[in-house]
Subunit: 525 residues, 2 copies
C-alpha cells in the first residue's frame, strides 16, 4: 500500500550478526574448548564461509548440509550458508547412514560440511553422491579452516524474506523423514521471540546443550546473536562438562530435554552444590516432573517449560509464568509449570479442535488436536505436497498432539501424537520402527509403542506376531532393526504374542501401552 | 518465492492483544484511579470501539484523532482504531488550539475522541471542522462510554502489513508540524524489540509516565500488551503520584525524559527512601547526568539511556549494557551510560556520515550526522513528499543529530546540527559544555546555546537551574568549565532561572536563543 523510502528491509536472521558485529565487535561471540571468537571474527568467518561455498559452485537456492555436533562450525553455517544464497540443512548426528543418505539425496545437497569426528559417516554419504562436495571441519587435516583462510568474504543479500532459509528433516509420525521448510522471516521472528521470552542480553552466556540440528537449535543461534550474548560450544551432552561450564564459564542460559535435565540434576557433579548464579533453563519434549523441577530449583537452575515442533521453528508455545503463581505451594506450582502454556509473543493464539475442526471447550477436560498458525509455522514440507496438504486443516497446522485448554487459556498436552515415542528428546516414529521390523522375514505383524525408561523418558517397545512356523529371537529382531535405523530407534524389548485389534482390524496400541505404564501414567498415553 | 499455507500472517501490533486476551484473559491489563480492566475486558472494549467508529461512518484509511492524557481510552485507541480499519492520530495535549487545528485539518480527521478534561479544546477544534465528529470520554457526560456500551464488536483485519497504522505529528525544528507515518509492520517490530530490551513479562507493571501521544509511547502500548504486563494509567506527570505508584502499585518499569527523572529523583517523595523493588527506567531526549544516574540508582531506579526520533517509532538506539562495564568505577560507568548506544535488536547498524555521505572514522572524535534505515524507520511524512525527500539521504533517514562513533561502535550525540555553536570558526557541541556544567555539584539542569558575538560570531551562553538549596556564582561555573574543556568552549555568560520545556520534557533551546538574538537570526536556529 505505502512503501517506505527508508527501507522495509527484508527480515532475515543473518542481520542479527551485523548488529552484533557492529555493537559488540570485540566481545566474545563463541567460546569453546579450543576456540574463542569475537563478534568481529565470527562475522568475518561467516562471510568467508559464504565465499568458500561460492567458490565451490554453490548457487542461489542450493542446499548445504552440515553434520556436526554443537561446534562453532555449525554456528557459522547458520549465517555463512544463507550469505551464500544457499539453504542450510543441519543433519541429526544420531541418524544412521541410510537415513542420512536419504536426506542428502532428497534435498540434493551440493556440499556436505562434516565434523572430523564424523568423517567416516561423511565419506560414506559422499560415496553415494559423487557430485556432492565433502568438506571436513576440525581435526588434524582441517579442510574447512584451510578453505576459510583462502576465501574472499562474500554475501548475497536476501531479497525476499519468505525465501527458504533452512531445511530440518523430521521423522514425524509416518515413514520417511520430511524436510520442514523454514523461511528467513519465520526464523527472524521466532529468534526475536526467544530473545524476549528468555531475556537474552549482552550479559547472556548460552551453553549449547540443545542440538543445533534440532529445529536450528530452536532458533537460538540467531537469538543469542541478536542479543549479543556469548555462545558456549559443547561437543557432547555430558553432565560433567555441563557442570564445568556452569561453574567456570558463567553460563546463564541453556536449553535441553527433561531427560538431559535429569542427568544434570542428579549425580556427583550436581551434588557439589547449586550454581552460584541463577541459570535459565528452557525445556520441552515432555513435561518436567515436580521432583525434577524442585531438584533443579534447589540447584539454582530455573526451568521454563516450552512446546513446539520442528514445523514451528521450535517453541511456539511457552508456559509464561504469572506472578500470582509465586504465592502457590510447590505442588501447585509444579502442576502449572508442567503445562505447555500459551503461544509466544509472535504467535497467533493456538486452537484445540475436535474432529470437525471446531474449538473444544476450554474446560481443562475436553480433548482435541492442537492446531497452530502464524509466522513461525513452516512453509511446508520440501518437495512433498501430499504431506503438506495432509498437515493442513484450513490453514492451520495439524500437530497430531492431543490436549486440553484450561479455563485460564493454557494448553496442556494429554496425549503426544499417539504413535510418537520421545526418547532422549528425539522423536521416534513408531511406524518407522514397525516398518523395519516388518522387513524381517519371520515377522507377520508388529506394533511399537513407548515404554517408560528412567534414563530416556521413553524407549521403543515392540509387540510381534511371527509368521506361522517361523522363529526369531528377541535379540535377533533388535539387531535387525539396529542394522537399519539409528541405534536409539531400535526396540529395547520385544514381546511375542497376539495383538489386540478393533473390529475393523486396527491394532489397539493404547492397550499395549497400558500394559507397560503405571496406572496414572498410562491414561495419558 | 515460497508462500506458506499456514500463514505468513501480516504483522500488526493489534495481534498482541489477541495473544494477551487468550493467554491472560483475567489478568489486569489496565489499572487506574477509577478503572481496572482485565485483558478480556480490554479486548472487548477495543472491538466495541471499532464498532463505534464503524457506526460513525469511519472507513478504511480514515483518520481518528485522540486528544487525551495517558488514560485507558487512549490505550484502547491503539487497538480499536486500527480494528476499524482507521489510522490513529494521537495529539500532543500541550499544543495550542491553532496547532491542533492545523493537524486535524492536515490529516482530515473524521472523528476526534477527546478526554473530558480537554473538552473545551475539543469543542474549539470541532467548531472549525463541522464534518468531524466529536466524542467526549470520561467525566459526568461520558459519550465514549455510552457509545461503547451500545456498540457491536467489530474488526477489520489488516491485509497489508505495510499499511498506515498511525500518524504522529512532530514539530521538528522548523515550520509546520509534519505527520510521521507508522506502518503496522514497523510498530509490531519496534514493540517486540522494546519488549526484548526492557525484559517485559506478565509480571511487568508499567507506569505511563511517557505520553502515549509521543511516538505512540515508544510503541509500549503494544509492547506491554505483547508481554501480558499491566498498564498503570497516569493522567499527570506528578512526582507525588509517580512515587505513590512505585510504592503502592508494584511498578516495575517506566519511561521518561531526564527532566522528569530529575523531578522524581529529588524532593520530599524521593526523600522517603528507595523503591522496595528494582524499577527499570528508560530515558531519552538528553543524556542523563552522572549525578542523576547515581541518585536514581540509590533510589533503586535503574536507568537505561535510549535514543530515537518520532521518525523511528521511538528508541531505535539503546545503550545496551555490557557486563564488563560493571567492574568500572562510578564516573566511568556514568560516562558510558550517557552514550546513546547501538541500534536495538531489530535495527540495521546506524551510520554517522560527513557532508559527502561518507562514514566518519569510528574514533570517538570525528563529528558527523546520524543516519538510520530499517523496518523501524517511518514510511515518510504524510502528504509531504518534499519533506520526505529532504530527509532522505540515499535511503537513509537524516536525523539532524550530530555525533561520533566510539571505537567500540557506540554512538554518542554531540549535538543537534542546529545547536552546534560556531565560535571563531570552531565547532562547539553544546552538549559537551552542558555535561561539563552538569558535573558541578550545584547544577541541577542546564542548557547552552549560541549567543551573538561581534568578535567570534557566536559564543556559548549558559542557562542554569541550581540544585535546591545549592549556590554557585557565574564566575565559579565558568571557571569550572574552563578547568575541563578548551577555554573557547566555556560559556561567556551564565544566567540562572527556569528552563522552558516541551510537553515531553525537552528543553526548548530555540526560546533561549530567541532571547539572545535579533529577530532575523533566532528564527534560523
Amino acid at each position: 500500500m505505502t512503501s517506505s523510502p527508508f527501507g522495509a528491509v527484508p527480515l532475515t536472521p543473518t542481520s542479527f550478526l551485523d548488529r552484533a558485529a557492529s555493537a559488540f565487535a570485540e566481545r566474545p561471540a563463541v567460546v569453546g574448548e579450543d576456540v574463542e571468537l569475537s563478534y568481529r571474527e565470527l562475522l568475518q568467518r561467516c562471510e568467508r564461509l559464504a565465499g568458500v561455498l561460492a567458490e565451490l559452485g554453490v548457487r542461489l537456492g542450493d542446499v548445504v548440509s552440515v553434520l556436526s555436533p554443537n561446534t562453532h562450525t555449525l554456528l557459522e553455517a547458520h549465517f555463512g550458508v544463507p550469505w551464500a544464497g544457499a539453504v542450510l540443512n543441519a543433519l541429526n548426528t544420531r541418524l544412521s547412514v541410510p537415513e542420512l543418505a536419504y536426506i542428502v539425496e532428497h534435498c540434493d545437497a551440493r556440499v556436505l560440511i562434516v565434523d572430523h569426528e564424523l568423517e567416516r559417516v561423511g565419506a560414506q554419504l559422499a560415496d553415494g553422491r559423487p557430485d556432492m562436495i565433502l568438506v571436513v571441519a576440525g581435526g588434524s587435516d582441517d579442510g574447512y579452516e584451510a578453505a576459510l583462510t583462502k576465501a574472499s568474504p562474500t554475501r548475497i543479500e536476501v531479497s525476499d524474506e519468505h525465501q527458504l532459509l533452512a531445511l530440518n528433516y523430521t521423522s514425524g509420525t509416518t515413514g520417511r523423514p520430511k524436510g520442514v521448510m523454514y523461511s528467513h522471516r519465520g526464523a527472524y521472528l521466532q529468534a526475536i521471540a526467544m530473545s524476549a521470552h528468555t531475556r537474552l542480553a549482552p550479559s547472556t552466556v548460552f551453553l549449547w546443550t540443545l542440538p543445533m540440528f534440532h529445529c536450528n537449535g530452536w532458533c537460538f543461534p540467531w537469538a543469542v546473536t541478536a542479543a549479543g550474548g556469548t555462545h558456549v560450544e559443547l561437543r557432547r551432552v555430558d553432565p560433567q562438562r555441563i557442570w564445568a561450564a556452569i561453574r567456570n564459564d558463567g553460563v546463564t542460559h541453556f536449553n535441553a530435554a527433561p531427560t538431559v535435565l535429569t542427568s544434570i540434576a542428579y549425580g556427583p557433579w550436581a551434588d557439589a552444590g547449586p550454581s552460584e548464579r541463577p541459570v535459565s533453563v528452557m525445556t520441552g519434549g515432555a513435561p518436567p516432573s515436580p521432583a525434577l523441577l524442585a531438584r533443579m530449583a534447589a540447584l539454582n537452575l530455573h526451568v521454563t517449560h516450552l512446546y513446539g515442533l520442528t514445523e514451528t521453528y521450535g517453541p511456539a508455545v511457552i508456559c509464561d509464568w504469572q506472578p500470582e503463581w509465586d504465592r502457590l505451594d510447590d505442588a501447585e506450582r509444579a502442576r502449572l509449570k508442567a503445562r505447555q502454556g500459551v503461544v509466544n509473543q509472535i504467535g497467533i493464539p493456538l486452537r484445540v479442535v475436535d474432529e470437525n475442526g471446531e474449538d473444544v471447550r476450554a474446560d481443562g477436560q475436553t480433548l482435541g488436536e492442537v492446531v497452530l498458525r502464524g509466522n513461525n509455522v513452516m512453509l511446508g514440507y520440501y518437495r512433498d505436497e501430499d504431506a503438506t496438504a495432509q498437515a493442513n486443516a484450513k490453514g492451520w497446522l495439524r500437530t497430531g498432539d492431543v490436549g486440553v485448554i484450561h479455563t485460564d487459556g493454557y494448553l496442556e498436552l494429554r496425549d503426544r501424537s499417539k504413535d510418537v515415542i520421545i526418547s532422549g528428546g528425539e522423536n521416534i516414529a513408531s511406524i518407522e520402527v514397525e516398518q523395519a521390523l516388518a522387513a524381517h522375514p519371520a515377522v507377520l505383524e508388529c506394533a511399537v509403542v513407548a515404554a517408560p525408561d528412567e534414563r530416556w523418558g521413553e524407549v521403543p517397545h515392540a509387540f510381534v506376531v511371527l509368521q506361522p512356523g517361523a522363529t526369531a529371537s528377541e535379540d535377533e529382531l533388535i539387531a535387525h532393526v539396529r542394522h537399519r535405523l539409528a541405534r536409539f530407534k531400535a526396540p529395547k524389548r520385544v514381546v511375542f504374542g497376539e495383538l489386540p485389534q478393533t473390529g475393523t482390524g486396527k491394532i489397539q496400541k493404547f492397550k499395549l501401552r497400558a500394559a507397560l505404564w503405571p496406572e496414572d501414567r498410562s491414561s495419558s498415553h
